[in-house]
Amino acid sequence: MLELSAVSVRKRLEGVSWTAAPGQLIGVLGANGAGKSTLLACMAGQLSPDSGGCYWQQQQVSRMTTQVRRQVISYLPQHPSVSAPVSVGHVLATGLVNLRLPVALAERVSQVAREFNLTNLLNRPMTQLSGGEQRRVHLARSLSSDSALALCDEPVAGLDLYYQLRVMELLQQRARSGQLVCIALHDLALAARYCDKLILLHQGQLLASGQPMQVLTTDNLRRAYGIEARWWCDDDGVAMLPTLCKGEHSGDL
């Protein structure tokens, strides 16, 4: 069980409380600067809240040893990067350090590469990959550990439509297999279609949480994003057409 208890970070988050059980895909939504990345960083133990705390199975995340946190939580930051032109295979192998792996390192790297369709890129230097390919490598790196809690900050940013859907399906599969997967994202249609629950942040505060269609209401979207949304839902999926609210956000840019 993941529990956030009145998490506050000065000027970024204000008293966010919320709980989630394993086996779910949770979407963290909100406009730019709403506090999504800060919240994920707190959950990952990257940032200690000024007050309140994040607990995983009753253990405060920021007080876990780095080794314990490594076994329990995997984290994809918003802007991951690799500073050397090393191969994709090396990046995946380095991302598996400090883990007790049930299989040999090379075998695990191959498994992950197959899962993320990176097998033909394993020997390519990171510098020769496109932005979307690099993003997939970072995502594969972060999800390679099979930790109980997976946190991904904008996992589909920069991916083409095919891989956006592939990645969301993969994250959903991970959740079905018992992981708790929390992702920050901007695509409301993807969030509505794939996530089991959503939390919507607005100016550092929790505006709404619950089932996707309970959260993505006209009122909530107008307050959080300043948009009007028209939804189409059928058995195949969900689509949304956003339009700017009249009179709001004019002149923001």
């Binding site: 490594r70 802007h79 380095t94």
Partner: protein
């Protein structure tokens, strides 16, 4: 294959270095005097040059990796400046003989004080930029203090002696210098070896690195201590030799070696090779006054770096 080729190259350089004198190729030493020249003068000098190359190459590669900055080199962290300042002060006040078991401790003390200052400037969560800017400030301040000490030198001979020492040289060194150097080199290299996974994970951005389960504070301290040990040992035995710490890792990268651990190992080998070649050049090029190592290193190193940079860079990997 690369290892075999480089080993062969090292062997050839060692044979030429030991066998060549100002009068040309002298071959295997026959007389006792020739044996003394080789065993007591050339061999320790060659080994000291190579040990310094290993220390500087290893320190340079490590700093470039952990600071994620290809411009990083031992001088830029201020450690070399701190070690040089402490040693010059010790010589100025006449506390120590040029070769004394206290000398490495004084040099290391200076390097460690610089490191401590850097740690205080950079804060508990240091960024690469902050470390480099802090290091530049410390290096500049140490440089100014060294200039002040030189300015206040009691006589022109002391001024000249210290100035030459600061330019770096392995001339007139013997086995005692090597015996000073080796323990520091071994301990520094072993410390870095023990932290190889932590250093290797610095290919990632800081946020990803923090999520990989390392105790970053302890790891960074171990790594910076090891670098201090290597650089201080180099400064106290050969003075300030610039450029090798920068050049060796770049030369290795351009050979296609990009992964952190192999980069460190090969930079150590490349450093040894470069220093041996540079010191051989100094020994064999006839000049009225023997040139200083730091001067020739920069003379040969700068064009070599420019030449290497003109080749495709960053697309190769291993």
């Amino acid at each position: 294959m690369k290892f075999l080729l480089l080993s062969l190259l090292l062997l050839v350089i060692a044979v030429v270095y030991l066998g060549m004198g100002h009068s040309g190729w002298q071959g295997w030493p026959g007389s006792a005097l020739q044996q003394d020249i080789v065993l007591q003068i050339r061999l320790p000098r060659l080994l000291l040059a190579m040990a310094n190359g290993v220390a500087l190459g290893l320190a340079g590669a490590t700093l470039q990796i952990i600071l994620r900055n290809p411009l990083a080199e031992p001088g830029i962290t201020g450690v070399a400046g701190g070690a040089a300042l402490a040693t010059v002060l010790a010589m100025y006040t006449g506390w120590l003989l040029p070769v004394s078991w206290w000398l490495p401790l004084v040099g290391m003390f200076g390097g460690a004080v610089s490191l401590l200052l850097l740690w205080l400037i950079a804060g508990t969560n240091p960024s690469g930029t902050r470390i480099i800017l802090g290091g530049v400030a410390i290096a500049s301040f140490s440089g100014a203090l060294i200039a002040l000490v030189l300015n206040l030198a009691p006589n022109p001979f002391a001024f000249q002696e210290w100035s030459l020492w600061l330019m770096g040289s392995v001339a007139n060194r013997g086995w005692p210098h090597l015996i000073l150097m080796i323990p520091c080199l071994v301990i520094g290299a072993l410390l870095l070896f023990s932290q190889r996974q932590f250093i290797g994970a610095h290919i990632f951005d800081p946020a990803t690195l923090r999520s990989l389960g390392f105790n970053s504070g302890r790891g960074s301290l171990f790594v910076l201590f090891a670098v201090t040990l290597l650089v201080s040992a180099s400064v106290i035995t050969a003075g300030v030799v610039s450029f090798i710490g920068l050049l060796a890792p770049h030369a290795v990268r351009l050979l296609g070696i990009q992964r952190p651990y192999p980069l460190m190992v090969w930079s150590a080998v490349a450093g040894a090779l470069l220093m041996a070649i540079i010191d051989m050049t100094i020994r064999l090029v006839p000049t009225a006054v023997e040139l200083q190592l730091g001067v020739v290193a920069a003379f040969l190193g700068a064009p070599l770096l420019v030449f290497l940079l003109r080749r495709p860079y960053g697309d190769t990997h291993a």
